[in-house]
Symmetry: C2
């Protein structure tokens, strides 16, 4: 059974790239629920309805899948957000772009994001963890720089604590992994737009 | 060794209540990291540096500890927040009280809170889960009622989406479990005050 399944790939029954996408998506869901240690190659193969041999044909180890799903997904987030922010001129528009592009990215890579978010408590490979935390720090600093620029240019009130404002913005985006359902009416990017509007303008009715 | 440790309690070497507090706090940390299924009574006993017999002297099962740490802690949150909100008259002050009291409660019950938050992905007992979700719904509805009242009384802009504003407020509080360190300068309640001020007044500098 293993060999016949493996030969499917050779026969080109399905493009490898869509198979790889499927494996990464399914593995992301399992990593998200069970963590790295709690997930086995066998479980991933079964959930994909493929043989272990075929799984190993595409990925040489569980670590490689995890790395592709969680680590690479994190790297691409920062490149993507960077590009969206760089396309804006005013710091307020940069803030909006930061929030909306982060949310869009989350929507496109939901299970990788959730796996990365859940990894927080159970990640064991300290090198992966250090790398991920260093990237996370850069991302958070980018946000603070945008907020500070907005204060410096008179777009944000000078009494606003930039570090706290950054926490608030990130909380709104980060918490989405816990409640957002793509099948519901709003897209993640629209939710981020609404958050941006509320945080920037405030809830208060002014006379 | 089991029996000599167990007899310590009988001899009153340490008040049971502080021992129970210790067990609940330690167990909360382990549940937070490993989930209910991944945690054993043996592990809790070892982490408390007590015998399993002594642990069973205080709690008849892992389920009982989990229930005390996670479920009871959730129940007390809602009672506590309810009381703080009820002491306010204006909806804006109710919103502030909701946020600050939730954060204060989180600070006092941090590991139980984290265990409950982490349980989201791995809780197996569906009865506990249903009960917890029903309470969570009441809590979220209470917040929306406060926000709707604030709109109705002209304290919050009528174009604000009350459901989205509720999500934003809860995101700010809920995400704290992932980054808040009690040893740092600000208390959780002060952070919630700062969030309230930013969300209510907005970041924007007005002429």
């Amino acid at each position: 059974m293993d060999s016949s399944n493996a030969s499917l790939v050779g026969a080109g029954a399905e493009p490898a790239s869509s198979r790889i996408q499927q494996i990464m998506s399914v593995a992301g869901q399992i990593f998200a629920k069970k963590g790295y240690d709690g997930t086995s190659m066998r479980e991933i193969a079964e959930a994909c309805d493929i043989s272990k041999a075929l799984l190993y044909h595409h990925f040489k180890s569980k670590e490689e899948i995890y790395s592709r799903v969680v680590v690479d997904s994190g790297k691409r987030l920062y490149d993507y957000v960077d590009a969206q922010v760089a396309a804006q001129t005013s710091p307020t528009e940069k803030l909006r772009a930061f929030m909306v592009s982060s949310a869009n990215y989350f929507e496109e890579n939901r299970w990788g994001w959730i796996a990365a978010a859940s990894a927080f408590w159970n990640e064991t490979d300290s090198e992966t963890r250090d790398e991920r935390i260093a990237r996370r720090d850069r991302y958070e600093h980018q946000l603070r720089d945008i907020l500070q620029e907005a204060v410096d240019k008179g777009e944000i009130r000078p009494e606003v604590d930039v570090a706290m404002a950054g926490r608030l913005v990130l909380s709104s985006i980060n918490w989405m992994y816990r409640w957002y359902k793509p099948e519901k009416q709003m897209k993640a990017g629209e939710i981020a737009e609404a958050y941006f509007e509320m945080i920037f303008e405030g809830l208060r009715l002014r006379d």
